[in-house]
């Protein structure tokens, strides 16, 4: 036993509240401690994940109350896979912002790192918990730290973006709480496995109403179409690495909560029209909006929403191949989008508006960062030698297996749209000459942020050339999500 899953939540929560005290001893501790904590989380979740792959799902009971009575944490091939991605991205974001935030004074850096740790802790909690009310609490932890991180800069319109996010977030949290009340009043339990075992005894009316409230409640974090009005503003106004953290960590947790609800809680098998329709609308609206954006980060935000639509379509197919494709997309998006946000925020470092025209010809001044941005852009639009190609290909093959012609057509058309708007930026970046009047002053990237970006770029190339290095893990995770009975047995088998 290498440690227990509960440490994944307890350690960052404890550290987040100790950091201000330790900062009084030595100011540098405020930056170092979060890095140590996030590195520890990555080591812990990786070793737990490897153990889970060898010896099966770990179910952790909290405070000795076994499964249906107390809260339990489930560390399975699926949740371990997502937890490892999230803690890895958390560490990368810390590495990037370590010196980036050195320009900022002590108080601001303290707040930034505290909320970053809470964000990671909450997202990991959403993924590994086995109790719906506990999931609601973690969604609120993620929400509050995300509002605070969005409002980080005082000079910009960030408070406006954060307020918008807060209104949507807390209204949707209310919807989630109503859904939990409906489930509890009908089934008398909050444990996901027990709900899943008894869901078909619930009257269909209540089931449909509870499901609608669940979709509204989780949809804000998962960026599904009518509920994602916060995303472009929050991504634009938040600091660059925070945009990466939203795309790599928070949204992944939201999507996980959504599919866990659909596949396990409501025990739906076969194609789910609701996910496919929501995903298609999200994809079309987001990608066409991205086409006409003037601001770089806003464009990246819409691209991120569009990718989540694609993930929902793939999950909605309900087949093994579809779930596999969706998890592969989530992995790729978690690696590529932070790279785009990190390099993009270096390119637009000395401007507050972040217009695309302001980075004209920057490749002459900052060649390395520009190449890294180009790598991310090519990978996310799905061009062959990079990792994004394999995940898009697996979506297409999964759709082809089910004869879903409409999805294949849509995905191909949307890929062209993606290529158009990314190449518009790349064209300005590489083939225009640098103009003092239009472009911003280049900013020399610091050593640690370059390392963070190079690690992400290396992973993109690695997965691109050797997709078999990750497909085995994704395959096991997909099996785990689809096998609801196994989940119920593992969790409720604890009662003896």
């Amino acid at each position: 036993m290498v440690g227990s899953p509960v440490l994944l939540i307890a350690i960052p929560l404890l550290a987040a509240f100790l950091v201000p005290l330790l900062g009084m001893l030595w100011k540098e501790l405020v930056r170092i401690i979060p890095g140590l904590v996030l590195a520890y989380l990555l080591v812990l979740s990786t070793s737990l994940y490897l153990e889970v792959l060898n010896s099966g799902t770990i179910v952790e009971t909290i405070a000795g109350w076994s499964a249906p009575f107390g809260i339990n944490l489930v560390f399975s091939p699926l949740t371990g896979f997502l937890t490892t991605i999230m803690t890895f991205i958390g560490l990368i974001i810390w590495l990037y912002s370590y010196r980036f935030k050195r320009n900022v004074e002590f108080e601001a850096a303290k707040k930034y790192f505290i909320f970053l740790m809470l964000l990671v802790a909450g997202s990991v909690g959403i993924v590994i918990t086995g109790d719906i009310f506990n999931q609601f609490v973690f969604i609120e932890i993620v929400g509050i730290s995300a509002y605070a991180l969005t409002a980080f800069y005082t000079g910009r319109n960030s408070a406006e973006a954060a307020f918008k996010y807060l209104i949507m977030g807390s209204l949707s949290a209310s919807a989630l709480l109503i859904a939990i009340i409906i489930i509890y009043s009908q089934l008398g339990t909050l444990n996901m496995a027990e709900i899943s075992a008894n869901i078909h005894n619930m009257s269909p009316h209540y089931r449909v109403i509870a499901m609608i409230f669940f979709v509204v409640g989780i949809g804000v974090e998962a960026e599904i179409f009518p509920l994602n009005g916060w995303a472009p503003d929050a991504y634009t106004e938040a600091p660059g690495p925070v945009g990466g953290a939203f795309a790599g960590i928070v949204v992944k947790a939201g999507i996980y909560a959504m599919v866990r609800m659909m596949f396990t809680l409501f025990d739906i098998s076969g194609p789910m029209q609701i996910l496919i329709v929501i995903g298609m609308i999200t994809l079309i609206v987001a990608e066409t909006s991205a086409l006409r954006q003037e601001k770089l980060k806003r464009m990246l935000a819409y691209s991120s929403i569009g990718q989540m639509g694609l993930v929902l379509i793939a999950f909605g197919m309900g087949t093994k191949a579809g779930v596999f494709a969706a998890l592969f997309l989530m992995l790729n998006h978690a690696i590529i989008k932070p790279l785009l946000f990190l390099s993009g925020s270096h390119l637009t470092f000395n401007t507050t508006d972040k217009y695309i025209k302001e980075i004209t010809g920057m490749a002459k001044k900052m060649p390395v960062v520009s190449v890294l941005f180009a790598l991310g852009a090519l990978a996310i639009s799905g061009l062959p030698p990079f990792s994004g190609f394999w995940s898009k290909l697996s979506v297409l093959t999964a759709a082809a297996d089910e004869n879903m012609i409409l999805i294949i057509t849509l995905v191909l058309i949307i890929s062209v749209v993606e290529i158009v708007y990314y190449f518009r930026v790349l064209n300005r970046l590489f083939f225009f000459s640098y103009d003092e009047k239009v472009s911003v002053k280049p900013h020399k990237p610091s050593f640690n942020s370059m390392i963070a970006m190079f690690i992400l770029a290396a992973l993109i190339l690695l997965i691109g050339f050797y997709p078999s290095s990750v497909t085995g893990f994704i395959d096991l995770a997909a099996d785990d999500l689809l096998n609801t009975h196994d989940y119920i047995d593992k969790v409720l088998g604890m009662i003896q």
């Binding site: 406006e160 307020f163 807060l166 209104i167 709480l177």
Partner: protein, 122 residues
Amino acid sequence: METIEVIRLGVYGASILLILIGLYAVLTKKSLIKIIIGLSIIDGGIHLLLIGIGYIKDGTAPIFSPGLEGAASRMVDPVPQALVLTAIVIGFGVTAVALSLIIRLYRHHNTLKIDEIKNLKW
């Protein structure tokens, strides 16, 4: 209809009414402070609903104590009450963050009217 049923329906109706009043305030009011008050009213309605589903007539505290050995069937469900406590704390946290954001907005824009704060658009 029994009295207990009337009370139960009354509580459910009142809580749904509170939720709708709060939603109305959030959707139509122009002042940022009033929007936050609306959010708090929604929270209040949900908390009432949660307490309502745990109600039992002549219920006792869910603690085994001398003289109440046969009371197991009359014990109120403690789970909704624990949930309400947690939900109240979360609601308090969100309200505090929202109010601090309003202070920031007021310093930046010098107004609390939501119509005049529109630097960000789709």
